[in-house]
Symmetry: C2
Subunit: 139 residues, 2 copies
């Protein structure tokens, strides 16, 4: 069965053209996407507002997650199976390549736990690493 459709139905979301296309973009893309990427890469052009709302819906349903960045942009990437509405489990490392500028989810690299000073109670960790990705290394 179509993977895109599968995901939407599993989350009880109505299947619309916008959601299908945007979700497809994530599945096809190997890296993370920013709002701007989505707006320019979809064949059919959707309203900015629709893109915003679709992304929001996807985040709320545990389909995609946000990646922290230092430049005023929000990046989104597909979640793994374990995520669902309300609870995300994206404790993997994100890699931003300085050369191709892609952001890649290193799904197999878990964020290590660290020792915190007394009184600090950690709940959720994120780790972002900049460097050169394996693709750019080859060239």
């Amino acid at each position: 069965m179509n993977q895109t459709l599968d995901i939407l139905k599993k989350n009880g979301l109505s299947v619309t053209e916008g959601r299908r296309e945007i979700l497809n973009l994530f599945i096809q893309s190997d890296g993370a996407l920013a709002h701007a990427d989505i707006e320019s890469n979809t064949k059919i052009s959707f309203d900015r507002v629709t893109v915003y709302r679709t992304l929001q819906t996807f985040v709320e349903n545990g389909i995609i997650h946000q990646i922290p960045t230092t430049d005023n942009t929000i990046l989104y990437a597909l979640c793994k199976d374990k995520c669902g509405a309300g609870h995300h489990h994206d404790e993997h490392v994100h890699f931003i390549c300085n050369e191709c500028e892609k952001t890649i989810c290193l799904d197999d690299v878990t964020v290590p736990s660290v020792k915190f000073p007394k009184g600090f109670h950690p709940l959720q960790s994120a780790m972002v690493v900049k460097g050169i990705c394996s693709d750019c290394r080859k060239n």
Copy 2:
């Protein structure tokens, strides 16, 4: 000698009222600051543009550094001594409190190194942790 003045001169920056006040704000504050915080907290009101440019100058000179976030804001915090123009060394963990919403630099908690897949060449790491800070824990 005045610490603010000291930092500015050490970096070869001309000493202006705006730079003095904004840098002071960072020194006094225990957490990280967003653009908005700075605009509203300085006694004398500076133009938005001035604040933007001042922050940029400080980042370029290794006086402050940016902290990654998932909500479209840029946070800034003071750098330690080791930072200078062009080279930052802020490999410490940042803690965002869910309760007081403050972002704190845990200068003594270093970002642990992790094993990357073949081909990935890390250069700079950042780690952001959400949870409850020690101050809010007490109450």
